[in-house]
Point group: D2
Chain length 385, copies 4
């Protein structure tokens, strides 16, 4: 297959934040090219956006249904290989279903859908079609997160006992949505965002990261869910006690009213024999702690790292990679898997290491359970799908 | 009053950990001298310990009742001014009551007593006698903790919305108490330590620090209290959701099974207008966060700090002070207050800034509530004394 | 100009390190596409490399002279817009001269040439042709480096008094070149690398960074240049005292035998009124120091930053960018400038902010002076071009 | 010897900075008591100062000659055991000589004397009398500095190749001495401070630390010595290239005009097999770097540390010690050595680990050589005593 994979983008027009990020990420490794797009629900904006990205006008579609329909009628080698859905939450499900129904693989931003019910339907559709779905839980794309996961899986810390994941942001400390901040507007609007604000937007990242690194599953939670800024309709803050399937306990803190914080996702995991700590804002460092020996500073790009970490790195040690590279790792692994499938090969475990529709279902279940727990007087709330 | 204050120590004999710390702290500023002691429940050990500290044999008492009785009969200028009680929890109440009854001021390690009931009796006794009691919540003695408190009190962050305090240690990751670790033995023994292990030992520090800095009071809690290491009788780990009297929410995490952690007490406080972060293991730095401006690194020893911070500092900026100096600040402020009282003066607010019997009662109430909440199926548990 | 700019690459075939970095950087912002390449001096390798990059075989040239000749005969809209030269030092000058002579703009890795004489000829050629040359001093592409430069230029620190720049690496601590490390082999070979190893490879980066941020020019130097690992032919370590044109003093340390260091470029600049500190390995943070106020943590992606910093950022604060993005900033600014030129517009100051042929001449002069100083018994050695 | 050692202090009266530090340090471990003092050249101030320290008036001497004379006539058990000289540099030599002549051991602040000639005389006198002299190079008292030294001595890094020590302060960025800052006044006055300001005050610390950790001796230097602030008479800044006796190279940077820096002494040492890094402002951490393995974070108070580090620690890991404890280690080791001598025992290597008169001579030689080198046009200047 001597060509790049072709991406059709849904959403991500002018002024959108995450669409540009997706394009950089998809573009990073020379495996994917932007082939076409329906960049906005407004046809004129869509076309204008596509042209600004140097797409020929014929590839700037007025709407995603049009794009999917027309592309699906092109010869296989000329049509898009997958869609990338970068719209707000409420506009994930329909295009994803339609894309799958027309034989297109899907990359989709998180949270996967508006409701758990939608998520389950999407999961069934993925199973039915046998197509790929990649959910962009960016933080699991960092090499040092993969190192952490590998060390846990490799039993270097023994049985895991405690997981603490915190994700404070401060950008919603005020009623920013009233000042026209586009990101704030839809994220705080139940019709666009779903039943949760903060927990859906970043709590799901924290939960996915905690499960991804620890290899454990949350089985119970006890949530304190808050609307701190007066006049807001969705939660902007929350603290959650966790129990995992091996009996480990945990804490998940997510807040968008942690004034002065940028995007300070941190995780600590403790096992019988050692512990680990990782900070998203200094992502190339992973601290490993031992009871009777000095802590160690694992750094990206070094030969002593696991295959998983090395596979997801582009630069030598000391040449920092960041958020965009983590994001690009999702696209790259998805692309490598897709290529392998197209070429009739078998994707390796490293290639398959990207969040899938099952993560999406789990994320939506997390949202529904954590919000329900927040409303409940019952202490422990079972988390099951 | 042209002399040092005279301290009589109860506990802290050979091989004791915290007794030596108390002596260094008391000794640091040249305001207090070790006058006498009943360093052990074993008379021979007590005397041997006192002699190793260069006390004359006449000042090495066989027991604390003897010490209190004999000292109380000496002329005022020749007898001890206060006792310092550095025994395990179960041996706090009786000597404190006896000392107060004989007219001696008291310094006492935390948690203050074995039970809340004892604590309340002690509080009554303090009120009745008009004597001073200083409870050694060390961490509130750090200058940058005082800076944090001052900035909150001064409304620099607006109304406080969220308090996150975590206190992970790893030293009880194994059943250390079976290996004869003296500190572990009594701390994990209900008859010596009371109804709680981890929450009593370090959870109380975390709670006190959170309230001290935020100026808020915990009003509700929801606790997950765990015995992680099999075979242990008392909690060695716990996570607690908090509500404060102004409506703020919080999280308190305390663990002694966080393998590889040393003594990593950290606190973050967020208000409407800004936030703060302090780490005990790098105590001379306080990070202040703003929504629209660079974060600031406040450092001990600088002229730009509050009076409270400057009053509790001995060295110029860049010359780090640590745990012993924080501990010494408690003794120093207690000593300055006591001197002022003896001299008939009025202690300043800075002098009076040391934890008191009220903190001790609050700490014991915290222990009883947090353990009760841990056993309860009810989500929110009211915290009231 | 409704298309991406077309890049022809010289060097960067299979197993090359820096070629892949250049491609990612060029590719990052969707402004440039890989159009053709002569990826190796071996024609078969060149073609194989190009095909692996999904180039049509017709665009995989057997040699750079062939590429330049053939491309120059294509219609303007079909031929490459610029060449990117990513070969070892000794193979920079000839292709750059030939490209310019055939009307192609040039991106070139540093150090620019093998000798100062070559550099001066290249500078003349650039002036003569009026074409653009971008020299990839990556570190000046970081947003927080631009912030530092802007604050100095804006007189926020007053007159600059001292510049300390250190660049320790450890990868040449052993005689790695004997183990077949391809990067080590040519960098330690005078015929490939020129008269200097360490000073040419990373000392030039440090010198350029120091001058870029401080806005000053080195006027004198006093160098201690060392070959630490026995059997090596070129310097692998050096320490240099500096004087700048305003009288400021400085120190430049560059080493490739700093065992255990990754790529730890750091700079500190002190002025009358304040100071700054930046570490390449945590590049999104810039520490600003004041004499009578808390230090400040400037962070990439924030609105309070200078235009220059914001212009060179892709992600919101807290979403770390790294080395590849810094590198991409050079390509992006070069591309924006080139587009503006092609479209007949006037590039803005932000667009023009990439290292030029003048930096390349200065870098080569630095190498020749620092090596000469290292051999001299004279203390201060004038640095002039 | 069942008593504390008795200290007589020379200097350190009201408003003095370093005297109070010395008293806290001497006092810290309960081995030394303040016995008497001549705290000021002004008799009234001396007596007032002593009384404020709770000394009986009979022990507050009007002058140090009086103190030495009178004390020397007391019975051995009643007189001071040693003097501690905490005056400015110019007032070190005479009292030290007189104390030694009268049989008193000496603790003395650095730099040891005003001139190298004085230092050599003092060294002879120490040898002649067989008494102890402890020079308070504080930074060598830190446990993690001792750990660093032990690991180098233990060949864990192989042969040392490079030493980088930097000591930036900012407090003399302005002409502070004109504003009546008492510390600044004498330190910038040649009659009080000697031929050097910055190099004498802090350059000597840096040099001593570099030699102490590396176990090497400086043999050549090439100095750039600067008076940056106009109107000042002594150097306030300097950069020095170094050669060591094993052929290693080094850099020493000391500055008091590094605006915004507090007391940021840092050292990096690189050997064939690894490297180390220590920062005085976070002194309980020592970073150890390896070429093929993760860096390690050695932390004070842990069992995995060398005897030397553990011997100089008072608190468990995670309970930070600081500058005062480092200072106290000098006094403690001096006191333990003196006790051993008095009791007729043999001090252990750990006890003897405090800077001696030989360090003092070396420090004065450093000052004279570095200033001479600064004035010389010759590049390398031999450093020999």
């Amino acid at each position: 297959m001597n060509r790049k994979l072709k991406m059709g983008m849904i959403g991500g027009g002018k002024n959108a934040f995450i669409g540009a990020i997706h394009r950089i990420a998809a573009n990073m490794d020379g495996l994917i090219e932007l082939h076409c797009g329906a960049f906005s629900s407004d046809p004129a904006t869509s076309i204008e956006s596509g042209k600004a990205l140097f797409l020929p006008e014929s590839k700037c579609y007025a709407s995603y249904p049009e794009m999917i329909r027309i592309e699906s009628q092109l010869p296989i080698e000329e049509r898009m290989d997958f869609v990338s859905i970068v719209t707000p939450n409420f506009a994930h499900f329909d295009p994803a279903m339609m894309a799958l129904d027309h034989g297109f693989n899907v990359v989709i931003d998180k949270p996967m859908t508006l409701t758990l019910a939608e998520a389950k339907k999407l999961e069934e559709k993925v199973k039915e079609t046998g197509l790929l779905l990649c959910l962009t839980h960016t933080y699991s794309g960092y090499p040092m997160v993969k190192q952490a996961r590998a060390m846990v899986a490799n039993q270097q810390f023994g049985s895991i006992r405690k997981v603490i994941v915190e994700y404070p942001q401060g950008w919603l400390s005020n009623l920013t949505e009233k000042d026209g901040n586009k990101q704030a507007v839809w994220r705080t609007d139940p019709t666009k965002s779903g039943i949760s604000g903060c927990m859906g937007d970043i709590g799901t990242h924290a939960a996915q990261l905690g499960e991804y690194i620890s290899g454990l599953k949350i089985t119970q939670l006890c949530a304190d869910i808050n609307i701190v800024v007066e006049g807001r309709k969705l939660d902007d803050d929350g603290n959650v006690l966790l129990k995992f399937d091996n009996g480990a306990n945990g804490v998940l803190i997510a807040s968008q009213i942690a004034t002065g914080e940028e995007n300070s996702l941190k995780i600590k995991v403790f096992g019988e024999k050692g512990g680990l700590e990782w900070h998203q804002m200094e992502p190339n460092t992973l601290i490993i702690k031992w009871p009777d020996a000095p802590a160690q500073i694992y750094r990206a790009g070094n030969d002593y790292l696991s295959n998983a970490a090395q596979f997801n790195t582009r630069t030598p040690s000391g040449h920092p990679e960041g958020y965009l590279e983590a994001f690009a790792n999702l696209y790259r692994n998805f692309a490598l898997t897709l290529r392998a499938k197209i070429e009739g090969g078998i994707p390796t475990a490293e290639m398959l290491d990207f969040p899938s529709v099952a993560d999406g279902v789990r994320g939506m279940a997390f949202i529904e359970h954590v919000i329900a727990s927040g409303k409940s007087d019952q202490k422990w709330y079972a988390f099951k799908i």
